[in-house]
């Protein structure tokens, strides 16, 4: 099979499209981010966040840690990743 410059071009376009399909854009802590499609649990794990003190607000609803695997993130979702800190 011969790789002409044109076929390489189309392969690149094809793979890029697949990556585009797998990625979604959501808002995390006020900033838009491209993330892999998946659950809250997946995102937390990909970002290597410390889970024990993490509070997740998903589209204005608190999602408890045991339900993180149940929520699949969708394009345009708004996520707040929060924690308690020192304050007066």
């Amino acid at each position: 099979m011969a790789f002409t410059p044109l076929s390489i071009y189309w392969e690149v376009v094809f793979f890029c499209s697949i990556i585009m399909i797998m990625k979604i854009e959501i808002q995390i802590n006020g900033k838009k981010e491209q993330i892999e499609k998946g659950t809250i649990a997946g995102l937390v794990s990909n970002k290597q966040l410390t889970v024990d003190s993490l509070i997740v607000e998903y589209n204005r609803k608190i999602i408890k840690q045991d339900a993180w695997t149940d929520v699949t993130l969708q394009e345009g979702d708004v996520l707040e990743l929060l924690n308690f800190v020192g304050g007066g």
Partner: protein
């Protein structure tokens, strides 16, 4: 003698010193400070995590028998304060909430109007609402009607350590309000706390002055003693002040007369 306890939101406090978790040089000062001060209620704040760093496990430093008082700092409107309060409760911090709505970043003056709006909403949702306000008697009455569990007037700007500069106005609140008055912000030294308690304040909230001391545990104890002294003096009912001297010893029967 009956124990002098302060009741707020169905909870009884033996200590009238409330504390905060901000500004400690190291978090492990917090449990030591709580031991020294015997404070039974402490504030925490809610923030976005630092995605690059680790999450702060502030709650790990607070013993379970200490009541958490999450604040709504960072909120600029009533709606934002309500949102923070709901998150804090859902996250397991209990029913207590200190409403703090601030837009003025130089003096950190609370927005009394937005604070009242937030109090009205949250009290209906069974929160124990402690609004942080400028001492305004008319507003305090409205807060009471709205269901505030206590009123928290500021002594002077947050973190300023300037003491009770709003003394006369706080005095009015203490006289008229039916709910407890907790003097919050600006209390810089134990004598300020004692002064508030002598005036008849039900409690004080101190963060900066304790947290930024070289030894927060010992400063916590110093504040605890000052609060107790001020409270005892208030209950004992102090004598009258006068412009001229009133001799403490009899003016008759001098040896030389």
């Amino acid at each position: 003698m009956q124990e002098d306890v302060l009741s707020i939101g169905g909870h009884e406090f033996s200590s009238r010193l409330f504390t905060g978790t901000g500004k400690f040089a190291a978090k492990d000062w917090i449990p030591r400070m709580l031991q020294g001060s015997r404070s039974e209620m402490i504030t925490v704040a809610l923030r976005r995590i630092d995605q690059g760093g680790t999450t702060e496990k502030i709650l790990d430093y607070i013993p379970e028998d200490v009541v958490l008082l999450p604040n709504t700092s960072g909120a600029r409107t009533a709606d934002e304060a309500v949102r923070v309060a709901r998150i804090a409760r859902e996250a397991g911090c209990g029913n207590f909430i200190k409403i703090e709505v601030i837009t003025d970043m130089r003096y950190l003056m609370p927005d009394n109007h937005e604070t009242l709006l937030a109090t009205e909403i949250l009290a209906k949702e069974d929160f124990v609402v402690l609004p942080y306000v400028l001492p305004d008697l008319t507003l305090a009455k409205k807060l009471e009607e709205a269901g505030a569990a206590a009123i928290m007037p500021l002594g002077s700007p947050i973190g300023s350590n300037r003491g009770i500069e709003t003394k006369e106005l706080i005095g009015l609140l203490i006289e008229i309000c039916k709910v407890p008055v907790v003097v919050d912000a600006g209390i810089g030294r134990p004598s300020h706390a004692a002064e508030a308690m002598e005036m008849g304040a039900d409690a004080v909230l101190v963060n900066t002055a304790i947290a930024t001391a070289k030894d927060p545990a010992q400063m916590g104890r110093a504040f605890s003693l000052a609060v107790q002294a001020g409270r005892l003096a208030y209950l004992a009912q102090m004598g009258q002040q006068s412009d001229t001297a009133n001799p403490s010893s009899p003016l008759t029967g001098f040896l030389g007369s």
